[in-house]
């Protein structure tokens, strides 16, 4: 279960928990959950368009914030729905760095089963935790 949507939080918006054995897996799950709010079956997206994402932040949770926000930015600025194909996070560097490769399709209405636009990642209850089972991110997206 890489992510699950939360029904009983932030009624008008979209809340989810994303999981991973590693930080990278958890980031990938969160990206998929975010795209999954916008389109049915994100895994069906073809990788016609390619791009790289490179980010830096001092805090791991804000690195995730920036990463998800980048996916939302490309949805509006280039009308791209993205799947993250590879992702590396260096937690030994200062600031922390993220390098990801993404592939995706330009949205075409009627062709893609679009759902709901995501406006932003909110900081309300936003956070990352780690326990013996792995990593969990809690995210509420503004719809």
């Amino acid at each position: 279960m890489p992510f699950r949507y939360l029904d009983d939080v932030a009624t008008a918006d979209a809340a989810f928990e994303a999981f991973g054995d590693t930080v990278e897996e958890m980031f990938l799950s969160a990206a998929e959950a975010t795209i999954g709010v916008m389109i049915e079956n994100p895994r069906s997206l073809k990788e016609n368009e390619q791009l790289s994402i490179e980010l830096k932040n001092d805090e791991l949770d804000m690195l995730l914030f920036d990463f998800l926000q980048e996916i939302i930015f490309f949805k509006d600025s280039r009308r791209l729905l993205l799947r993250i194909t590879s992702l590396r996070i260096d937690r030994t560097s200062s600031p922390l760095t993220l390098a990801a490769e993404a592939g995706g399709e330009i949205m075409i209405q009627g062709h893609h089963p679009l759902l709901t636009d995501v406006k932003a990642v909110t900081l309300y209850r936003f956070g990352i935790t780690q326990d013996e089972k792995g990593w969990t991110a809690t995210v509420i997206l503004d719809i």
């Binding site: 029904d7 932030a10 009624t11 918006d13 509006d76 679009l114 900081l123 309300y124 503004d142």
Partner: protein, 485 residues
């Protein structure tokens, strides 16, 4: 039961949570609601409105309107006024969709005239007013021109042939917040929004063709003053905001405020979404100027959409928009912060009013109202679900107790994910058409999320605002056609 045990009943429609409820509360929190609506409010409302009550410089109370529900930072329906000298400004008190708002437009057509054309009208509007995820608008402008839109709002539309002069007068603040400065806006924000003028967006954004049935008119005299003079008169209501541009402005400043709130200004907040800066600080003023750019973009967005609606009606009915009487009733903003003059402890004072998912509701005689509405009070437009209808109301003098604010919608009662599990878009469309509401949507899943039962009872919300003296019901408008983003 999520209602705090310490809540105090002030009247049948007003409740107060005392400052003892939570450490750090500077003022009590006040919730306007009937007991039924209060019981329907989720726990987030109480948590969030009391967080707002902790913000530096807050005046009197942190308010929540009758349609209040769980948001982020402020609850949806949250209102807070700050002392501009000692208080803060917070993007979490405005929201990401800056100046998401409602516009209501008249026609002189009746249901009998429109009904035979409803499919053509809705189908054409669906093609001509882009909606849904990733939609781009028909106004093709450069990034530099977009910056002018952000600084001029509806005035840019008038100059470029997308507005009538009177449209501006019928828009809150004349369709332009002065002091918008695009040098405070990031390139990313411009990049995200410059080609989205004239688009509805998605989620709860919509464009609806509605009817004012005689049995739904609550106040005939004011209805007439608002332009509803014929039985079964048809009007158009739509709801949208500042699109990706506003979303990015809010995100940029949320991040900036997060970095300065505590470190530079020593302000601790209970929720990072409430990160803020003193209003008079460099960061506070920059955000205020950038927020105004997004406000203006949203006014322009709704103005350009109105232009398209006029074109479509004109083409289908072979009459000019002027001949069809397509005059605006009003345009109201939901998510803003504004410097306004209100009575504070008996003295007229300039204060910074944050409204998030809440509508300004100037009562009769208030400064800033167009002459046409001086005696009636401001038209207030409260949108309901696509199945149940919406309300046109008028501002009342009693709204002075909420810094002239009332509700903005019916408020969600069910999460989007839950609604998608319960309803199917195609089935809902068929059922609504059988009931006389023809719907087109950019997303079947999105349509299911907006099903009527996912929202609270709009009649109860509108009634609660009237009982509380915030706004008076004038007409309940029922849908016959709807475009859902």
């Amino acid at each position: 039961m999520s209602i705090p045990p310490s809540i105090k009943k002030i009247s049948d429609f007003l409740w107060e949570i005392p400052v003892s409820y939570k450490p750090g509360m500077l003022v009590p929190a006040r919730i306007y609601a009937t007991e039924i609506l209060l019981k329907q409010m989720d726990q987030g409302v109480f948590e969030q409105v009391t967080n707002v009550a902790c913000l530096p410089g807050i005046i009197d109370y942190a308010f929540c309107m009758p349609d209040g529900h769980w948001g982020y930072g402020f609850p949806i329906g949250g209102v807070a006024a700050m002392d501009p000298h000692s208080g803060v400004i917070s993007p979490g008190g405005i929201g990401f969709d800056i100046n998401c708002g409602m516009r209501l437009v008249l026609t002189n057509l009746t249901l009998d005239e429109v009904k035979p054309e409803i499919r053509r009208l809705v189908d054409t509007l669906f093609r001509r007013v882009p909606s849904g995820v990733g939609s781009t608008g028909f106004v093709k402008i450069s990034r530099d021109d977009f910056r002018r839109v952000a600084e001029m709002g509806s005035r840019w539309c008038l100059r470029n042939g997308y507005a009538w002069q009177e449209d501006l007068e019928m828009t809150e603040e004349g369709g332009c917040f002065s002091g918008a400065d695009t040098s405070t806006v990031s390139e990313k924000a411009v990049e995200r929004g410059f080609d989205q003028i004239g688009t509805l967006g998605s989620g709860n954004h919509y464009l609806e063709i509605q009817v004012a049935k005689p049995e739904n008119v609550h106040d005939e005299e004011i209805a007439r003053a608002f332009g509803f003079t014929r039985p079964n008169q048809v009007a158009i209501m739509f709801h949208c905001g500042s699109r990706g541009f506003g979303h990015q402005v809010a995100t940029d400043y949320l991040k900036l405020f997060l970095s300065v709130s505590e470190k530079k200004y020593g302000i601790k907040v209970n929720d990072r979404e409430l990160s803020c800066a003193p209003f008079h600080s460099r960061e506070g003023q920059d955000y205020f100027a950038a927020m105004k750019c997004a406000v203006n973009m949203a006014f322009a967005n709704r103005q350009v959409i109105l232009h398209r609606i006029r074109e479509v009606f004109s083409a289908i009915f072979h009459r000019s928009p002027e001949d069809l009487g397509m005059n605006m009733v009003y345009d109201v903003a939901h998510n803003t912060a504004k410097l306004e003059k209100h009575l504070v402890h008996g003295k007229k004072t300039e204060i910074l009013v944050h409204r998030k998912g809440a509508t300004r509701s100037f009562g009769p005689g208030m400064e800033g109202l167009p002459d046409r509405y001086r005696e009636t009070g401001q038209p207030v437009i409260i949108g309901g679900s696509m199945e149940t209808g919406s309300y046109l109301l008028a501002g009342l003098a009693g709204s002075q107790y909420t810094f002239c604010t009332t509700a903005h919608g019916s408020g969600r009662a069910m999460s989007r994910h839950q609604a998608k599990k319960l309803f199917r878009g195609q089935k809902l469309q068929r059922e609504m058409e059988e009931r006389g509401i023809y719907v087109r949507t950019a997303s079947w899943g999105g349509l299911a999320e907006e099903a009527g039962p996912a929202y609270k009872n709009i009649d109860q919300v509108a009634e609660a605002t009237e009982l509380a003296g915030l706004s008076k019901r004038i007409i309940r408008l029922v849908p016959i056609g709807n475009i859902k983003g």
